[in-house]
Amino acid sequence: MSANGSGAPKARSSKRTDKLSLLLTAVGNQDKAAFEELFKHFSPLIRSFSQANQHEGSYPGLHEDLVQEVMIKIWQKAGKFDPEKASATTWIYTVARNCRIDMLRRKSNTQHLPLENEDYWQETDENTPSSLLQQKRSEDKLHAAMDRLPHEQKEILRKVYIEGKSHSETSQELGVPLGTVKSRVRLALHKMQIFVPFDQQDGLIYD
């Protein structure tokens, strides 16, 4: 546990060394060949990510626009990618999510929106080596646990995250009560050891 235990073997680093993270790091150094490889890997994923979304503001060419916008953002911002803090896929997921929500909002809103979705996020300060290592470990655990999730739980997570549906839209679409949708999400999070503070409050809020 202690960070300064002199004789102890050095804690493993949180630095991601998977292929995609190495590629994204190279893109941060303006490497076009690496960028092309990333494009090949991610553009089909981004395309299906937006095709699944049939939300207000959605339009037939949205997925191609999104592929372009996300790839451009990746190129422009890759220099800020830090493989100690996140994996390439997580970093790119947040870029794609923010782009998608902004595009939908722009299309469905007549008013000027003063904030882009990325303005809702802020740099976190949980960046000490030990907390980064912990994040990396929880990510590994999460991946293993997700592969074992029952279909009914994973299906809901996919609806929310990939198809961009709220819990209540998901409940309508699946014909499952909202309470069931919520409890399946909670069960899934619990299995993946994602502990959301609200659930640790024992209903404190509503007496």
Binding site: S87, T89, N109, L113, Q135, R158, S166, L189, I205
Partner: protein, 223 residues
């Protein structure tokens, strides 16, 4: 209550925030809470990892019109824009929470405070949507707001100071959801003014003795 246990957004909200499904006004409130709550920030990091895993294992739709060359050519144009705008130095001191500061354009003077009662003032924030009215509320030290109820949802995030009502004491960062049928009377702490971010989805209904008068002032003006 002396524990440091805070009030946090419910799990579904954080999940929808991470999935990019939550509406703008609710997202503003969650974002303001995150500034104060490291536990929720930690959970959110993991929720984003979950979203990434789902994205990464998708089947993918390989056939599309966008070619790599097309993206490259657009990048050359876009690069110019980026240089033009160049990074704003984001090292500004946080006044309330980054998201709120951005909404008031980092300028306290841009807030137009309106008196709602002898102890409560309100300043609207422009958010470009009209599902919720988003505003700041200020209660002076020891000030009592009138008892009121809401016909819609009300999210509140304490940005500065603290207040209490019949149920609890709320401190900086606390995230509170009120639903219709939960009349309440916020009272500012004695030791200083309290400023809250609030998002209301429908007009407030006053139940106190000055109901008639207050209703007029508290009508919602979506901006």
């Amino acid at each position: 209550m002396t524990s440091k246990k805070g009030f946090c957004p419910e799990t579904e909200m954080l999940v929808e925030f991470s999935a990019g499904v939550l509406g703008p006004a609710e997202s503003i409130c969650v974002s303001a809470h995150l500034h104060f709550c490291s536990k929720c920030r930690e959970a959110l990091l993991q929720l984003d990892q979950l979203g990434a895993k789902l994205l990464g294992e998708g089947e993918g739709e390989p056939s599309g019109k966008t070619s790599f060359e097309e993206v490259l050519s657009k990048i050359e144009f876009a690069d110019e824009d980026v240089k033009m705008q160049s990074e704003p130095s984001d090292e500004k001191q946080v006044v309330f929470a980054p998201v709120v500061d951005r909404l008031m354009k980092h300028n306290l003077k841009s807030l137009k405070w309106k008196k709602l009662s002898s102890s409560v003032e309100m300043a609207q924030l422009e958010t470009g949507q009209n599902v919720f009215e988003v505003s700041l509320h200020k209660i002076c030290a020891g000030g009592k707001a009138p008892v009121h109820d809401h016909q819609g949802l009300e999210y509140t995030v304490v940005l500065k100071g603290s207040f209490s009502d019949e149920r609890s004491v709320y401190r900086e960062g606390d995230f509170i959801l009120r639903e219709p049928g939960q009349p309440h009377q916020p009272i500012g702490a004695q030791n200083g003014e309290c400023i809250c971010l609030s998002a209301q989805s429908a007009p407030i209904k006053l139940t106190g003795p000055f109901g008639f008068l207050m209703n007029k002032w508290l009508q919602i003006h979506p901006s």
